[in-house]
Amino acid sequence: MASKTKSTLLNMVLTLLIISVVSAGALAYVYSITKKPIEQAQLKKELDAIKEVVPDFSNNPFEEKQIIDAYNGSGKIEVYPAKKDGKTVGYAVKTFTEKGFGGHIEIMVGFLPDGTIEATKVLAHSETPGLGSKMTSEKFKSQFRGFNPAQKKLIVKKDGGDVDAITAATISSRAFCDALDRAYKTLKKEGLIK
């Protein structure tokens, strides 16, 4: 084996400098080529979620995106109007809650113009796998299809509402309702839905 470079100060500084510069260059290059796919993946994810929660639309919801303060000032929610032939068929709302078992949860929820929930889709969560993570399951989500918060209470049954909580994950279920409630009340306050 070739003789090792001696551990003098100059050698050490130079070695680390060269390694860092080469690494930084490689990272910058890869960052520049992956930047676009990463952004597209993000956009696609949101667009897929919007498509899933509102009826068929023909506009580009991203162009008409509105950012609105939540009704109680607890943050901002994003509203994507879905229109078909110029007529509003629903609103996809990116709402959130901080009350999850694992903290922050982001949910895309679709409302029809009369305030009925069309569908929901969880965008991001850190709930316990196998328990709270079941809020992404069809079994839990399907009860919100056609749910109108004006007629039914958006609270879990345990607390006197009309929502079936997930077994052994009441906190996650409450958080889910909290996020939906935030979206509903905000849209109502803004006069977007009845």
């Binding site: 084996m1 070739a2 003789s3 090792k4 470079t5 001696k6 551990s7 003098t8 050698n11 050490m12 070695t15 680390l16 390694i19 860092s20 690494s23 490689a26 990272l27 890869v30 960052y31 992956t34 676009k36 796919p37 990463i38 993946a41 993000q42 994810k45 991001a124 316990t128 796998p129 196998g130 328990l131 052994a168």
Partner: protein, 193 residues
Amino acid sequence: MNQWQNFLKGFIKENPVFVLLLGMCPTLGTTTSAINGLGMGLATAFVLTMSNVVISLVKGFIPDKVRIPSFIVIIATFVTLVDLLMAGYTPALHEQLGLYIPLIVVNCIVLGRAEAFASKHGVWLSFLDGLGMGLGFTFALFLLGSTREILGSGSILGYKFIHGDGMLVFVLAPGAFIALGYIIAIMNKIRKA
């Protein structure tokens, strides 16, 4: 040691998870399902192989006193590359593994092989060592992930074969320890037989 043994030792004889017990954090944390274990294992295998190769190439230029910082920078670079590439091209898997990808940097198995093997051997042997160890790690994570998924969710690779829930404890953290313990016991029996 011939080349084959060098490559194969990572699977059974010196398996990083079952025998060396290195890299326990991602092992226990990400193996809630078979596919998560596989993804995490392959990401680590890539980092391990690449960092072994690069380190064996530059080992002659690196002064002894700064070798660990140099290794860490090289490893961190590859981890960030994997992170960016996965976020761009496999967003679904990236979301599942999330936090654990950056943590490959501090996975002791990567620095361990760099220090114990790549800094003393040539490029080809280091490549085989990294690949063997990486695939051994992948094999271990896949096995653990499958076990936990079968027992905990009653499914394998996402295909459900029972109605309702499995034994929930296996999906949660304690189940990871229990399953790992039994697998290690079985592996010890096999190795000594």
